[in-house]
């Protein structure tokens, strides 16, 4: 069922995640944060790591193609974007 109200948090994680993914030091920092045992979604991220990394590495202009490819596997761009973990300032 399509969301009627955009989840701005998910869109923000995708937009800024992609922006910072281009910076090697920030990319490393994000990966370490998401793999930190203190992160509440550490186990979930391990399951989705490959898809999330691919999504963050993809340019916005390729979103339609990426979404179409994900849908062939029963996923979607929105589903994977939702799996981008949050960042908690207390240990980032």
């Amino acid at each position: 069922m399509k969301d009627l109200v955009p989840n701005y948090g998910d869109f923000a994680k995708l937009q800024y995640g992609r922006m910072l993914w281009k910076l090697p030091a920030m990319r490393e920092r994000l990966l370490q944060h998401w793999a930190d045992p203190r992160h509440p979604h550490v186990e979930r991220f391990q399951k989705w790591k490959g898809e999330v990394e691919r999504l963050l590495s993809t340019e916005q202009g390729q979103d339609d193609d990426l979404d179409a490819e994900l849908r062939k596997r029963g996923l979607s761009l929105r589903v994977v974007a939702r799996e981008i973990p949050s960042v908690f300032g207390s240990f980032f």
């Binding site: 923000a12 281009k22 920030m26 908690f88 300032g89 980032f92």
Partner: protein, 147 residues
């Protein structure tokens, strides 16, 4: 528990001043939400405060360096502990909630290497009125002047 101590326009202005002075390259930011209303009040010399304090500043940016700085100001950060509020980067998509010509009425300011754009109070209030937020339309004892 997030801190909720953003009441005065100078708090927003001070942070923007520091951000603009610290940038290595020119950068752009659009400020929305209650913090943007506070900024307008400060910019107009209105001495007032939010009747109910906010906990967040909501910027939108396409500048990597600014995004990087904002990621150090997230909820739970040392920044929040020091300032009593945090930064919540908003996606550009949220601008669809504003009138299509909001840029025509926006305030623009250069702060060091930062180019700041702030929608007009009227444009800022429109999404809040739609959501029925209790803080809208008043700073201090009076309403936010809309002109």
């Amino acid at each position: 528990m997030p801190r909720r101590e953003l009441r005065h326009g100078h708090q927003v202005a001070d942070w923007l001043e520091q951000l603009g002075a610290g940038l290595n390259e020119p950068g752009k930011m659009i400020l929305i939400g209650s913090a943007a209303l506070l900024w307008h009040a400060f910019d107009r010399g209105i001495q007032g405060e939010l009747p109910e304090a906010s906990m967040v500043v909501d910027p939108i940016t396409d500048t990597e360096e600014i995004a990087r700085v904002c990621y150090d100001c997230l909820i739970g950060s040392e920044f929040e502990r020091e300032h009593g509020w945090h930064v919540n980067l908003m996606p550009e998509l949220v601008l669809r909630e504003f009138a299509p010509d909001w840029r025509d009425r926006a305030a623009m300011k250069s702060i060091g290497r930062l180019t700041l754009m702030v929608p007009s109070p009227e444009d800022l209030l429109r999404p809040k009125l739609r959501r029925g937020e209790p803080r809208i339309g008043s700073i201090g004892n009076g309403r936010v002047p809309l002109d």
